[in-house]
């Protein structure tokens, strides 16, 4: 095993101390501040902490937190696993996650799409799991096609890593296509949102679909033959093996996440059935999918932060007439520009009671008006959840909206205050 340099040890301890102090001061979990302190002490902390580990990186626009959580559950069958705390997927979060881990333990880490190259260079991962790419936070992140180009360069620069890639997303396939000696497992994981992949990532020509198959009319770049794919609630192998996917998490998207995680766990020597069985108990991910009593309402929190994510969330919503609260913020971590709301077919909410909530409830309200959805605009989300009760209420919120709402609901629960708390 590689020895960890003394500087890295000091860096990790300093980070943990900073995190503990931050927690004690009531400033949150302290993961990011801890990671930042570690990186100040040792700028190469990431590569030092990653040395001598079996590392799996997971990236994509949607599903990376859940996939990483499911992969962690699968890998835990064989021993302790280091992972990101609370979906912190930039280098400080990764450093914080690795600082807490036993030396030599495996690591399952989610990585922001734009940071995959830098992180892969530092950690030299055994596997990279590439889920999907679609428009998200266009004010902050480079254009989607450019991200695909950068992923491809990352895959090329990491030839020993085994790539697990979604064959149904042409942008991901373009990256996975560059896999080196480490090889690639192609998974037919599905990608309902296709509007960012109609232009061929290889030549700019037109990509056309024929059922699940796709091919570029210009250069012939086409869907790779998958080694594994999803059929309803089964994971099917090309050689005919069938494995039941039985999750506590809802929706098609989470079966896809489980398929990608299972295909990755195989590379650590864990069989598909064992891996899938280990995922069955995961029933919430950083507050997502969790049910919480809010007044007389029973709220279920769902993350929906871009058009592709929304397509999956429509599939998870309880059937009408279950009311829906939509909570939209537009802080830096959400993307400052919520115009993507117009790419979401909110018409599908017609016929339910709907509340438009969050810091950008007005943007949402105008969108719902033109979609023909009856709504009430209630900017404060807890108030909105109460207003749509009693009984089950589905809450679809984007990133900071869900994070803050989850913290508020938890704070309420842990302080034991009643319905008027």
């Amino acid at each position: 095993m590689t020895r960890v340099p003394a500087r890295a040890v000091v860096a990790a301890r300093a980070g943990l101390a900073a995190a503990a102090l931050s927690r004690r001061l009531g400033r949150g979990e302290g993961t990011v501040i801890g990671g930042r302190v570690s990186l100040l002490v040792d700028p190469r902390a990431l590569s030092h902490l990653g040395a001598g580990r079996w590392v799996a990186l997971v990236s994509g626009t949607n599903g990376k937190t859940t996939t990483t959580r499911l992969l962690t559950a699968a890998l835990a069958v064989a021993g302790p696993v280091a992972t990101n705390p609370q979906g912190s997927n930039l280098p400080p979060g990764l450093v914080a996650g690795l600082s807490r881990a036993a030396p030599g333990s495996a690591a399952a880490l989610e990585v922001d799409e734009a940071w995959l190259g830098i992180v892969a260079e530092a950690l030299r991962p055994a596997t990279m799991t590439l889920l999907n790419l679609s428009r998200d936070q266009l004010d902050r992140v480079a254009e989607v096609r450019r991200l695909a180009e950068r992923w491809r360069a990352t895959v090329e620069a990491t030839p020993d890593a085994h790539i697990v890639a979604n064959a149904d997303d042409p942008l991901v396939a373009w990256a996975g296509d560059a896999a080196g000696a480490g090889g690639c497992t192609w998974v037919g994981a599905g990608q309902p949102w296709l509007d960012d992949a109609t232009g061929c990532p290889a030549c700019g020509g037109r990509v056309r679909w024929d059922g699940p198959r796709w091919a570029c009319g210009g250069c012939g770049f086409s869907r790779p033959e998958p080694h594994l794919w999803i059929e309803d609630d089964e994971l099917v192998e090309a050689d005919g093996g069938r494995h039941r996917i039985s999750l506590s998490l809802p929706g098609r998207a989470n079966r896809a996440n489980a398929a990608m995680a299972a295909a990755t766990a195989v590379r650590a020597g864990i069989g598909l059935d064992v891996a899938l069985a280990a995922m069955a108990g995961t029933d919430s991910v950083d507050g997502r999918y969790r049910q919480a009593e809010v007044g007389a309402s029973r709220a279920r929190l769902l993350l929906a932060k871009n058009p592709a994510g929304w397509l999956e969330v429509f599939d998870m919503l309880a059937p009408p007439p279950t009311p829906v609260v939509v909570v939209i913020n537009a802080r830096i971590a959400d993307g400052r520009d919520p115009s993507w709301l117009w790419d979401v077919p909110f018409e599908r909410l017609a016929g339910r009671r709907v509340a438009a909530s969050g810091e950008r409830s007005r943007d949402l309200a105008v969108r719902l008006l033109y979609a023909g959805v009856d709504y009430e605009r209630i900017p404060e989300p807890v108030e909105a959840i109460r207003a749509l009760g009693p009984g089950p209420v589905d809450v679809a919120a984007n990133y900071t909206a869900l994070r803050d709402l989850d913290a508020r609901i938890r704070g309420r629960a842990s302080s034991g205050s009643g319905p008027h708390g």
């Binding site: 902050r140 989607v144 520009d337 709301l341 117009w342 309200a365 033109y370």
Partner: protein, 268 residues
């Protein structure tokens, strides 16, 4: 039966990255709410652009698809013919660049459709990302408009081409005269996303009025109240409900925003 009024979204598969498809939705609903049958016709690349629609829309997009849109539209000729016949055209961001004479992408100089004499280069010190506030040309009879911009282009207008408006906050064309976009006949180019017609219903009705003449009253006036509430909120968020010359505070805010943007925009 009366033929429905058609609103054409040109090449949304190439120019549809920034929610501008919403503009079509706004136009069509505002016709239906007046009792006028209307439909959106989306024209993907490879499909002929109809010549007889009332309004044409071009949205924002990325470099390579933008070049493809320009070359195809130039070769095809339908959009130019429709505009010559008096149809209304709203071209946003990349769409604005495409209908001009030339534009520069990361892959080199490209010929535009040539509907107006405007050329776009990559001359901005940093990518323009943020709230954009525009006072439109007074002749258009529009209020102060709100939107969101996200582009790297600097657009220069040829002699005789009028700006669509003056930038109150944000960058717009990026030229020293604080111009945003252009207006020529029934053609409007602007850097306002948002989508712009969702935040600014008066602009939607201006385009519809150009195409159809006088419009009956809207059956759902609450739509405009909601949209105007959104606009008021965004205008005040842009920190420019007061004139640009009024003091230093806005300037500091602008510098802060710019610095933060720079941190995110390295390499784009």
């Amino acid at each position: 039966m009366v033929e429905p009024v058609t609103v054409v979204v040109v090449y949304p598969d190439l120019l549809g990255t920034y929610g501008d498809g919403g503009n079509a939705r706004v136009l069509v609903e505002r016709l239906r709410w007046r009792g006028i049958a209307a439909e959106v016709v989306t024209v993907p690349l490879g499909t002929p652009v109809p010549r007889s629609a009332a309004v044409y829309l071009l949205g924002g997009g990325e470099d390579a698809p933008q070049s493809l849109a320009a070359s195809t539209l130039r070769a095809e000729g339908s959009l130019v013919a429709a505009v010559a016949a008096g149809a209304a055209l709203l071209a946003v961001c990349a769409g604005l660049q495409v209908v001009g004479s030339r534009f520069l992408t990361s892959e080199g100089i490209r010929e535009g459709v040539g509907l107006v004499d405007a050329e776009t280069v990559r001359g901005l010190p940093v990518r323009a990302v943020g709230e954009l506030v525009v006072d439109p040309d007074p002749g258009l009879g529009l209020p102060r408009l709100s939107g969101y911009e996200n582009h790297a282009g600097l657009t220069r207008l040829g002699p005789g081409l009028r700006p669509f408006g003056r930038v109150v906050a944000g960058v717009g064309n990026g030229t020293d005269d604080r111009a945003d976009g252009f207006v020529a006949g029934h053609v409007i180019g602007t850097y306002l996303h948002g989508p712009v017609l969702a935040r600014n219903p008066e602009l939607a009705d201006l385009l519809l009025g150009w195409a159809l003449g006088e419009l009956p009253a809207l059956e759902h006036p609450e739509v405009d109240a909601e949209a105007q509430g959104l606009r008021a909120e965004r205008l005040s968020a842009a920190g420019r409900s007061v004139p640009a010359s009024s003091g230093g505070r806005g300037r500091w805010r602008r510098l802060g925003l710019r610095a933060r943007r720079r941190a995110y925009q390295r390499g784009t």
